[in-house]
């Protein structure tokens, strides 16, 4: 009995403060964990759902909140700024970013600044600025806040980055669901889905899942051919062009005669 209590105390001391009271755990599911990009691909909607598992009655101190993030594969980028030189607008300065997510969506049950504390955001990289920084930023880029802001602004406008507050539906503090629409201009790779449950601004539990986005069929074939046999691909492209040019000319001659 005494030994058991001592072990529990030890366990409590070892665990970080946040997880010590983890009486609630997250269980999640995705409507699909693979997205195939075929010729008629026009975006895809993913249903992300889950439930909160409890050993004890739900705490009543703060309401339960849910955040869902979807992060696309990262790519290196150059951000350039135009300046006016002798009456002409031209690229003057640039900043290289080693990796920035090609897609990033955040869906929540409420306003982000109300349900998530600053320190928890830093730790779990949830909001867009932290998510970008988490992936990898050079010292040069870190000293250029204008450029990072521009990256966010442009990608928000392009709908590549999204913040959708209040789009996660939560029922009875237990079941939750949200739909994330993946755009048509997807980059191939693994999309990380992060699920977080929070109370009083603190993350209680989280889980990560992957959605594999792959080209399929004709798209796969052409992409592979272009990268593995570039010369052959070029020759085929030319042959197709030559044939189409001849066929059109022959067809019109036939129609006239």
């Amino acid at each position: 009995m005494i030994r058991a209590r001592a072990a529990m105390l030890l366990l409590a001391a070892l665990l970080p403060a946040g997880q010590a009271r983890a009486t609630e755990a997250i269980v999640t599911g995705l409507s699909q964990n693979r997205v195939q990009i075929t010729a008629n691909f026009d975006g895809s909607e993913i249903l992300i759902y889950g439930a909160v598992k409890r050993d004890a009655p739900a705490p009543t101190d703060a309401p339960l909140e849910v955040i869902v993030t979807v992060e696309g594969p990262s790519t290196p980028l150059v951000i350039r700024r135009k300046e006016k030189v002798a009456g002409i607008w031209l690229n003057r300065s640039s900043v290289t970013i080693d990796a920035a997510p090609s897609f990033y969506a955040v869906a929540t049950t409420g306003k982000l600044d109300e349900i998530l504390s600053g320190t928890e955001d830093l730790r779990h990289h949830i909001t867009i600025p932290h998510a970008i920084r988490a992936v990898g930023i050079s010292a040069e880029a870190a000293n250029s806040p204008d450029f990072i802001e521009a990256l966010q602004r442009i990608r928000l406008n392009e709908d590549r980055y999204r913040v959708a507050e209040g789009t996660v539906q939560l029922a009875e503090e237990t079941l939750f669901r949200t739909d994330v629409a993946l755009p048509a201009n997807l980059t191939e790779g693994n999309y990380k889905v992060g699920l977080f449950i929070l109370r009083g601004g603190k993350v209680i539990d989280s889980q990560e899942r992957l959605i594999g986005v792959r080209k399929a069929g004709l798209e796969r074939f052409l992409f592979n051919l272009a990268h593995q046999e570039p010369f052959l691909y070029g020759v085929i492209s030319l042959a197709m062009a030559a044939f189409a040019g001849w066929a059109a000319s022959a067809a019109f001659r036939f129609m006239r005669s």
């Binding site: 790519t75 031209l90 521009a150 492209s237 030319l238 059109a248």
Partner: protein, 308 residues
């Protein structure tokens, strides 16, 4: 009907692409220009990445040029000998252009360089053509619809150069040096601007070499086939930016447009044809110049880094 392009990695309506190809093909068949100077800005406008737009545009120009040249060949309006001389210069110029392009890319000013080249050459050629063709159109009207008397042989310093060769289809007996030099300039510019160079070649053949307008279109198309074919292969090998699916849709629209355009060109007078081409060239020039001069709404731009 949306279609996902495997190399460009964007989803675009297939009918927009067919229509775009058709319009450019029509102009190509009508004027004997490849249409590269139109297709590249148009593809950029609908959201195709720049590298893919340039490379795939070149591939589409190959098809519409072949389609157009076949019509001209039936009319015996292609001077193959002149075409080959131009082409020899063209490959040399293109090779040099690729080197300069790589050097400018390393210095990070390739966009500006390309835009300035567009403004300079489109403006120069378009302006010259517009002045000349409107003058001859006015002259024709004043003379009571009588065609202006054009002397077939105006002897200039060009005719004093060595290595003379007979170009029967053009009715010319001139040195091979001027056409080879023109071919080299065009090849150089096409490598830098990602175009076939027809809009420079056509006026150069008319005004500098004195070739008759009726063989100019066919001969220009003949040369463009090979220059853009070379460009396509180079891009496919170096940067994998040729999108075959995108090219296919543009080509289907383009070859049909080129056939219609080539037939339309026989219905218009040479002066009218030239003045229309001049207006088209000047419009594109004006648009690019505006982009350079007006303050852009977004000062920042994002470019993905191409991994080696």
């Amino acid at each position: 009907m949306q279609i996902y392009l495997p190399i460009a990695e964007v989803s675009i309506n297939a009918f927009i692409l067919l229509g775009l190809g058709g319009i450019v093909g029509f102009l190509s068949g009508m004027f004997g220009v490849g249409g590269g100077f139109l297709i590249t800005p148009l593809l950029l406008f609908i959201g195709v990445p720049p590298g893919v737009a340039v490379a795939t545009g070149a591939n589409q120009v190959v098809a519409s040029s072949i389609s157009g040249v076949l019509v001209q060949m039936k009319r015996k309006a292609v001077d193959f000998r002149m075409g080959l001389v131009l082409l020899a210069g063209g490959f040399a110029g293109s090779w040099t252009g690729v080197q300069v392009f790589a050097w400018m890319t390393a210095r990070g000013q390739v966009d500006l360089f390309v835009q300035l080249s567009y403004v300079l050459f489109l403006g120069l050629i378009g302006g010259m053509m517009f002045i000349e063709s409107s003058r001859s159109l006015l002259r024709a009207r004043r003379a009571g619809a009588a065609a202006p008397i054009r002397r077939a042989h105006v002897h200039t310093w060009v005719h004093g150069l060595p290595l003379k060769m007979k170009f029967r289809a053009s009715g010319l007996y001139v040195s091979v040096l001027p056409p080879a030099a023109i071919g080299a300039v065009v090849g150089f510019l096409s490598a830098i601007m990602g175009v076939g160079g027809g809009f420079i070649l056509v006026p150069a053949m008319i005004y500098l070499l004195g070739m008759p307008t009726k063989v100019v279109v066919g001969t220009s198309l003949f040369q463009i086939i090979f220059v853009t074919g070379f460009t396509t292969i180079m891009h496919a090998i170096n940067s994998q930016t040729v999108d075959m699916l995108l090219a296919f849709l543009l080509i289907v629209g383009g070859v049909i447009g080129a056939q219609l355009g080539a037939r339309m060109s026989t219905k218009l007078k040479a002066e009218q044809l030239r003045i229309l081409l001049a207006i088209l060239v000047l419009t594109v020039c004006f648009k690019i110049a505006l982009d350079l001069l007006l303050m852009p709404s977004e000062l920042f731009s994002i470019t993905p880094v191409v991994l080696p």
